[in-house]
Amino acid sequence: MEQTFNPRIIGFLCNWCSYAGADLAGVSRLQMPPSIIPIRVMCSSRVDPLFILTALLRGSDAVLVAGCHPGDCHYQYGNYHTRRRIVLFNKIFETLGLETDRVRLAWVSASEGGRYRDVVTQFTEHIKEKGPNPLKKEIFL
């Protein structure tokens, strides 16, 4: 009998907005799949694209990067850098013929617990439909 697939998603959350937003979702007792494994970073701009690649190669089914809304970054412009890096990352994946929808960038503010729940729920559903990440099997390091 086949087991139900519970995706495992690494979530990089910025300390000031998204991590606080995720905390708020918890405090408000909003229910969501426990698929996100959070890694706290000070700013989403700390997320080196290699972190994302490593996660995918090591078997993470997807990666979520969440930061403050554009214009609200605690460090002024960090999230604009993040945005460019993620676009570029997906571009490279596209060129290599790999899936580009396993990496998602989301803006979640400290007051948006509900939004965090929605992002997590939708992303998890999407990955559930897609199935496990094949990269770990396809690429050997």
Binding site: G26, P33, I36, I37, S45, Y75, Q76, Y77, H81
Partner: protein, 547 residues
């Protein structure tokens, strides 16, 4: 092998009921990296903190992992306990098994699995932590205030205290815009009297040094240690060492020369509100009818200047005081009169016979005003004099100081505050505050409030006799790997990174670095390292999470 202690907090029933801590203990026990697992009912309580400190000492733990609530809640609490117990507080990782685990799902089994993963990640990470030092540097408590309008003067008076020198530099005469005003709304007290009193106060204050008709030539350095070069009235150069800077250079009133429908400079009886109050009202016998036109320039700038409605009513009262029989019309688009005094002020102005007309469109002609009224009817009114109530715009020097101090301007050309709601008088550059009309249009009350706010911020950040504490989780550059490409310099918002021209490598100013880690992500050679969030630390976290 370093001795790592793992503490599980039950958080009353909060964690204990949603996560199977017995199972967590059982699974983690097999991990050789953990010396001992301790459990407490409520670790953040006084009893819990005592338990933590005693356990650290008793078991000789060298590194600590605590699985409890969000680090945003109690990371600092536990770091303090560690410091008291003699451990470096950065040899510590907190695992959030409450907000982002126990409280997110009703499924105890899944929550337990997630908790185990998170704890494993922290255990894996903790061995890569390095002890960080809370650094301190020498700093100057002295303050430079640029601009001696009423905001600058107020700021100087509020920052002045013993053991601290306050320097206030003004390019013109002291007093700024208040020199041009007759009276202040809504109390109608004399602007001049108030200003003279304040000027006397700063001039005689032992801790305040005033530089009139002086120019700021150069400012170098950073928070705690700025050096400013000033050219004084008699063309001498003065060098000042200061710790922080407050910009109070004010704004300007808009001159509507470029808006042809207002007829400014085209007809001799059209004046701006500023000209009227400063000179016209003193010289002439006032004519029979005067119209005051509001919202001049508002569409062009894209914001309401907040002060012109009340100011126009003040002018109407000054006119009525001087010449009781002059008929005054107020042509307005929207009335903006927030605040507790202003409904009454409006009512009283109306009672004096001042007429309010709402317009949709306006065209000023020779001794007449053609307008389209609120109900879309084309009308005309002949008047003897027209006063244009113009809005406030950024001052001419705003750009100069923005460049000099590396602070950004907002979409309208005013200095950009660090956060419009939460940090309205700070800028992104540590040690530089803004107050008054250079931050945005505002009246005297707002300017004085901002003066107080920036003074408070400055006084609490640099205290005489104390050294400046510097963020520990900053970036560092590995000299031997850096090739001096300058990518990190370009991504740094705070100007904390510069290229050392003699060594051709990048260097970090740890006072300016706020520790966002952007440079570490951008560095192509791996020379930029973000302390406490190093690549290795994050890879180890990921690795354990995905096992």
């Amino acid at each position: 092998m370093t001795k790592v202690g793992l503490f599980l907090c039950e958080c009353g029933p909060n964690i204990a009921e949603a996560v199977d801590l017995d199972k967590v203990t059982e699974v983690i026990k097999g991990d050789k990296k953990v010396a001992l697992i301790e459990r407490h009912r409520l670790l953040c309580s006084e009893d819990g903190k005592k338990f933590l400190a005693e356990s650290i000492k008793k078991n000789g733990f060298e590194r600590i992992v605590i699985a409890a609530c969000s680090p945003k809640q109690h990371e600092n609490t536990f770091m303090e306990v560690m410091t008291r117990a003699g451990l470096n507080p950065y040899l510590f990782q907190m695992v959030n098994i409450r907000e982002q685990c126990a409280w997110m799902t009703p499924d105890k089994e899944l929550a337990t699995q997630k908790a185990i993963r998170l704890i494993r990640a922290a255990i894996n990470r903790i061995n890569y932590h390095t002890p960080l030092k809370q650094k301190e540097i020498e700093c100057s408590p002295d303050v430079l205030i640029i601009g001696a309008g009423i905001t600058g003067i107020e700021t100087a008076l509020r920052t002045a205290q013993k053991n601290r020198n306050i320097y206030i530099v003004e390019k013109n005469e002291l007093g700024g815009v208040l020199n041009r005003l007759q009276s202040l709304y809504p109390g109608m007290q004399s602007a001049r009297e108030l200003l003279q009193k304040k000027i006397k106060e700063i001039k005689s204050h032992p801790e305040i040094k005033v530089f009139q008709k002086s120019k700021i030539k150069e400012i170098l350095g950073f928070f705690g240690n700025f050096i400013a070069r000033i050219e004084t009235e008699d063309k001498k150069e003065v060098k000042l060492n200061i710790g922080s800077i407050i910009l109070t250079i004010g704004g300007e009133t808009f001159v509507p020369a470029e808006l042809p429908n207002f007829g400014y400079k085209k007809f001799e009886n059209v004046f701006t509100a500023d000209e009227f109050e400063n000179s016209v009202i003193n010289k002439e016998n006032l004519p029979q009818t005067i119209a005051i036109v509001h919202c001049v320039g508002r569409e062009k700038f894209g914001y309401c200047s907040k002060i012109c409605c009340a100011n126009s009513m003040k002018l109407a009262r000054l006119i009525k005081e001087k010449s009781k029989n002059t008929k005054v019309f107020q042509f307005y688009k929207e009335l903006c009169l927030p605040g507790k005094e202003y409904d009454q002020f409006y009512k009283e102005t109306k009672e004096q016979g001042v007429e309010f007309i709402r317009y949709k469109n306006i065209e000023i002609g020779d001794h007449k005003i053609d307008y389209i009224s609120e109900d879309e009817i084309k009308q005309s009114l002949s008047v003897d004099m027209i006063i244009l109530s113009t809005g406030l715009v950024p001052g001419k020097d705003t750009q100069y100081f923005a460049n000099l101090l590396n602070i950004p301007l907002d979409d309208y050309g005013f200095f950009k505050e660090e956060h419009i709601k939460l940090a309205p008088v700070s800028t992104i550059t540590e040690g530089i505050s803004i107050a008054g009309g250079c931050q945005g249009p505002q009246d005297l009350n707002d300017a004085v409030i901002q003066a107080g706010a920036s003074a408070g911020r400055t006084l609490s950040s640099l205290i005489p006799g104390r050294r400046l504490q510097v963020e520990a989780k900053t970036c560092e550059i590995a000299d031997s790997i850096c090739v001096g490409c300058g990518v990190c310099v370009r991504v740094c918002t705070y100007g904390a990174l510069t290229i050392d021209e003699s060594k051709h490598i990048s260097v970090v100013n740890e006072v300016l670095c706020r520790g966002c880690g952007n440079c570490a992500a951008a560095c192509p050679s791996g020379a930029a390292r973000h302390r406490h969030f190093t690549n290795q630390e994050i890879y180890q976290e990921e690795r354990a999470m995905l096992k």
